[in-house]
């Protein structure tokens, strides 16, 4: 069987037409994701603080330094929560500023008490920090009543454990 070796004098250059299985493109823009940072919290956190004064979730934050002030940061959060009262509220914070606040107030995500079960609270947000300084994204929580938990089922914090993550990607403008 004849073998054609590509490379050297046989290297393909120029535009490969679509009709020949190419893309027809003469150039490609560079990738848009410039960096990714992630923090995973594997231990249990709880607070009795209510939603009027939210509490930082220890160990659930991530720091990213954008390379250009025009770039954006895509933040993804999955937090496993439960609550002994009615509702656990979840707030995304950039440095010390609450972001992604819905019209009329309240919070970007909640987890309701459903028989003590643990559920994921999810936040996906494309932020525009307008800075090239180190920027920290973190999560605050509070309970409408009772005790709010992260990474554990509220009625059995010993045997029912989970993990939560926060991820930040710098996206080229």
């Amino acid at each position: 069987m004849a073998i054609t070796r590509l490379g050297g004098a046989n290297a393909i250059t120029g535009i490969i037409p679509v009709t020949n299985g190419g893309t027809g493109a003469s150039s490609f823009s560079p990738g848009k994701v410039l960096q990714v940072v992630q923090t995973t919290k594997i231990d249990h956190f709880s607070t009795t603080n209510n939603y009027a004064s939210l509490t930082d979730v220890t160990g659930l934050s991530v720091s990213i330094t954008p390379s250009s002030s025009s770039n954006k940061v895509f933040v993804m959060v999955q937090i496993m929560g439960s609550v002994t009262g009615t509702t656990e509220f979840i707030q995304l914070v950039r440095d010390s500023t609450n972001i992604l606040i819905p019209s009329g107030g309240s919070f970007p995500a909640t987890i309701a008490n459903d028989g003590g079960n643990t559920y994921p609270g999810t936040i996906n947000f494309l932020d525009t920090p307008n800075t090239t300084s180190a920027t920290t994204y973190k999560i605050k929580i509070g309970a409408q009543s009772g005790t709010a938990h992260v990474n554990a089922r509220q009625d059995d914090t010993t045997n029912h454990r989970f993990t939560s993550t926060i991820t930040a990607m710098e996206i080229s403008a």
Partner: protein, 83 residues
């Protein structure tokens, strides 16, 4: 466990606990801190997680039997309790 213990001592306490660590308790909203020694002393009075699970199973079986004694069928009990 730590949060339950603290709330037994002070039901109105505002605090957070990280990593189930007595050294990582943050007292909030002016709550008077409770000493580690006091928390540890109270903690031994609480049932363990295994004891709590066993008690729940005992309560469930006892409750089901009481419903049966009242004349409810298994199907009726399941419809009411889901178990």
């Amino acid at each position: 466990m730590i949060e339950k213990t603290i709330l037994l001592i002070n039901p109105n306490a505002k605090f957070s606990v990280n990593a189930d660590d007595l050294d990582q308790i943050t007292w909030l909203e002016g709550t008077t801190p409770i000493s580690k020694a006091d928390i540890e002393a109270k903690m031994v009075e609480l049932p363990t997680a295994e004891e709590e699970v066993a008690q729940k199973e005992t309560d469930a079986a006892s409750g089901k039997q009481k419903l049966k004694d009242l004349g409810l069928s298994d199907a009726e009990i399941k419809a009411l309790t889901g178990a």
